[in-house]
Amino acid sequence: MTFLPKPKFRHPAIETNELGLTHRDYEGSISTLCAGCGHDSISSAIMHACYELNLPPHRIAKLSGIGCSSKTPTYFLGNAHGFNSVHGRMPSVLTGANVANRELIYLGVSGDGDSASIGFGQFAHSIRRGVNMVYIVANNGVYGLTKGQFSATADKGAKLKKGAVNSDSPIDLVAMALQLGATFVARSFSGDKGQLVPLIKAAIEHRGPAFIDCISPCVAFNNHEGSTKSFDYVREHNEAVNALDFVTERAPITTSYAPGDMQVVRLHDGTFIRLRKVGADYDVHDRIAAMNYISTREASGEVVTGLIYLEDHPEDMHDHLDTVSTPLNRLGDAELVPGQAALDKINAGLR
């Protein structure tokens, strides 16, 4: 943990985005996590994604639960809305906030403990409801705040620092998200910002439940030999299904890639992502095939990363519930409290 505030000086030739902000304007207070924590890299990737997308920080809401991961919203987007909820309850609070004001961008930041253990049910239901959000799990396979016991995402056979071996089956959050109907599913690695930043940008632009499982080595308790969530292990076993370029220009793309090597995907707001296929013939639009693929690869010890699944025509909770398009805070008393006559009409309809 660093005690000094980060100096205010910035590079004299620092670039600004369309809003006139530098990437440093997307910072929060200085991190109190352990030096080298993967979570800090995820925070940095979020800041860069928001900077590059020209997002005004005050139009973003960042929500989290409890854990090392859930401390991180303090360390980025100091001018965004924030809510640090009870352990594992971030998805419910986020859902509620989204119901009330659908115009903000919702970033749910959670960890493997917060989402795969105490908040497993919450995680599942927010995904299956189709809440429009970016749900990022900083996944390190251990409980860092309580000194490194195995979490529910630790692989069977993985070793703790002192040699204890995990005998329980792991929860694969990517597989869960696919099964539960997330319309954007990705896995990445905190040590690879080249992959992570475009994924976060695409997830923010995606309208629907976007889930990113980000492997984030715990340098204090889970970065040793025998760990399957260490920098070395992930780098050795990382199998990226595609490389992704996020294209901000809202015009069709002409590229020099050979047909078949590249896939252009249009997002709801007219932006594009460009996927370069790596290795296997992988189709991001086939959910069943994706589930098969990751099960097969993971059985042979690979860590599949990249954009794993993308639904081209996602729906979100507001579509299902047919809610009013205006955020509730902009509706007047007359709309919010329609009166006895309106209630009577509803009651009559239910008789």
């Binding site: 000094l4 000086f9 590079h11 620092i14 080298g36």
Partner: protein, 596 residues
């Protein structure tokens, strides 16, 4: 892009911009930290070892360190290094017990220094403690050279000169004052083991124009006039004075004139205001005292009535630049301007003069009638005769004179030990970790947001009434601390160890200046274009590693690094460490005689 031969002594020395820019390579950040800690005498001694005259230089140095200061690239203005040096001199305790003792041992070698200015005194200071018998000759009654004769007392009080010149003579150096060397060949007959010439650039350049001879009684050469003021021969001047010239001597002239009765004092320069040779702060000080500086005016005629000066006629010019960027001054077409005045001070340059060195005794002179001197050894073509200060390469400044003195002392010491003076030992260095705890460093790594502080001045009314009253009050201890905290501690270097790095990106994420990038290796030009922040200042090096586990390298642009140590604080494996760099430059004595 790892250079084939990475020389740590040079590489890390260059990162300490101020120290690298200082001709005497004074370890600036080190003494600034001591000032912040209130250890003024320690700070003074570090200066004394490097530059011999901390109190004098703390008031008069041309400060090449300040334009180089990294703070100036990060924020608006550099650290006030020069005036902090004065703080060390002002607040120190008695430093005499810390000075080297008079050498009991005599090595039997005799060295003469001609001229008692800063260059000669540096040679004497470096050699006397080693057992040399050093004799300094000067025509004036007191030592100091131009420091004493040309710098006005309101900028540099006499006591400061006496004190620091005194430390040199306390080492057992003999001073033959009032002794002008009239003939070099006769002088060399005395069998000196080495002779050092530090006679400065003693002749003021004159300005030929109609009326110059007729009105001679009212037209003075700047440096001669300043010397006369310094020795009290001149105590007043007329009310209306014009100073011709745009260098620091012109600034000293006009400000002295203001104090000796000049009420309407003007500086008139040929060139534009921006191109004047005077340091910006000296121009500011002059203007602060109500002295206008008029530019693009070339003196054409001294007008007089029967030998009594009435004024100067000027031609108006403008600057024109040719394709190569060379400037010429061409008439602007405006009518000439006549400025009335009673006296003129001519400060348009200084020249060297060696009428006392006979030609043909082995000391070669070039086509500009300057001695042929080796840039590194300071040796003339006569092997045991050395030159330094303004007499070597023309007018420079005090800190260069000191640097020349050190270099000549090394040459003399090597020569007197039978070693070749042209072989110069490579500097040594040390790098010592400053880590004191998990996030504790032995230096103050918090970055102060304080802007440069101004040195308080005596109010004009009082200052202009007394030519001996020092006009700058200097920093008090509170201001000195605030200013010292602006220093970025560039000597505390960011040291990277490849084999410890796990490429977690923590350093990249935390760096406030975006200095660090992990990327594919490549040639320097290509690499500079691919970094996280533009690395356009090619004067500043890229610090690069060998290939890491992922095949990438670490590349750090040194340009605007704050040396805040956050990269090292956020590094989980200690791959980054903050280490204090200390360069050990060879000086006269054992260190210059080993070539290991």
């Amino acid at each position: 892009m790892k250079p084939e031969r990475f020389d740590p002594a040079d590489y890390f020395h260059k990162v300490v911009d101020c120290q690298w820019a200082c001709p005497a390579h004074t370890p600036v950040p080190e003494y600034i930290r001591l000032i912040a800690a209130g250890r003024y005498a320690d700070a003074y001694m570090i200066n004394w070892e490097s530059n011999v005259f901390p109190g004098i230089l703390g008031r008069t140095c041309d400060r090449p360190c300040e334009p180089a200061c990294r703070r100036g690239r990060v924020e608006k203005e550099p650290v006030a290094i020069c005036r902090l040096k004065r703080v060390a001199a002002d607040f120190k305790d008695d430093v005499r017990p810390r000075m080297p003792a008079k050498s009991e041992f005599k090595n039997g070698k005799r060295v003469a220094c001609i001229g008692a200015g800063p260059a000669s005194l540096t040679v004497a200071r470096d050699l006397a403690p080693l057992g040399y018998e050093v004799v300094v000759f000067d025509a004036e009654p007191k030592a100091g050279g131009m420091v004493r004769t040309q710098i006005p007392k309101f900028r540099l009080p006499e006591e400061v000169i006496d004190e620091e010149v005194g430390y040199v003579f306390d080492l057992g150096v003999e001073f033959r004052h009032g002794h002008r060397v009239e003939s070099m060949s006769a002088f060399l007959a005395h069998d000196w083991d080495a002779v050092f010439v530090g006679t400065g650039a003693p002749r003021g350049r004159d300005l030929e124009a109609p009326g110059r001879k007729e009105a001679a009684a009212h037209i003075h050469l700047g440096i001669d006039w300043l010397a006369n003021v310094a020795f009290g021969h001149v105590t007043k001047i007329s009310k209306r004075v014009i100073v011709l010239g745009g260098g620091n001597t012109a600034m000293d002239c006009c400000r002295s004139a203001r104090r000796l009765g000049g009420e309407d004092v003007k500086v008139v320069v040929r060139s534009g205001f921006e191109e004047m040779k005077a340091s910006p702060w000296e121009k500011e000080d002059a203007m602060h005292e109500g002295i206008p500086i008029l530019n693009y005016m070339v003196p054409k005629e001294f007008r007089h009535v029967g030998g009594k000066l009435t004024g100067v006629l000027f031609e108006k010019v403008r600057a024109e630049y040719d394709a190569k960027g060379r400037r010429s001054l061409v008439p602007s077409g405006e009518p000439d301007e006549f400025l009335e005045c009673d006296e003129v001070l001519v400060a348009v340059g200084q020249e060297n003069a060696f009428p006392w060195i006979e030609r043909g005794i082995g000391i070669e002179f070039d086509k500009w009638d300057m001695p042929v001197v080796d840039q590194e050894t300071m040796a003339s073509t006569l092997p045991h005769v050395f030159f330094g200060g303004d007499s070597a390469f023309g007018p420079k400044n005090i800190i260069w004179a000191v640097a020349h003195g050190h270099a000549a002392a090394v040459s003399i010491d090597r020569m007197c030990h039978g070693l070749d003076p042209s072989v110069r030992p490579h500097p040594g260095y040390s790098l010592i970790s400053q880590k004191m705890g998990i996030h504790e460093w032995s230096y103050d790594n918090a970055i102060s947001a304080q802007q440069r502080l101004k040195v308080p001045l005596v109010e004009n009314r009082k200052a202009l009434g007394d030519i001996k009253l020092e006009v700058e009050l200097g920093f008090d201890v509170v201001r000195a601390f605030e200013e010292a905290q602006r220093c970025l501690n560039c000597d505390v270097q960011t040291i990277f160890t490849e084999k410890l790095c796990i490429e977690c990106d923590a350093c990249v994420d935390i760096c406030p200046m975006d200095c660090i990038t992990f990327t594919a290796d490549g040639p320097e030009g290509d690499l500079r274009a691919r970094l996280n922040a533009p690395a356009n200042n090619v004067e500043q090096a890229l610090y690069t590693s060998d290939a890491l586990k992922t095949g990438r390298i670490m590349a750090k642009d040194e340009d605007v690094c704050l040396h805040c140590g956050l990269c090292a604080e956020r590094c989980p494996t200690g791959a980054w460490d903050m280490q204090k760099f200390n360069v050990k430059l060879p000086r006269a004595g054992a260190s210059c005689r080993s070539t290991a």
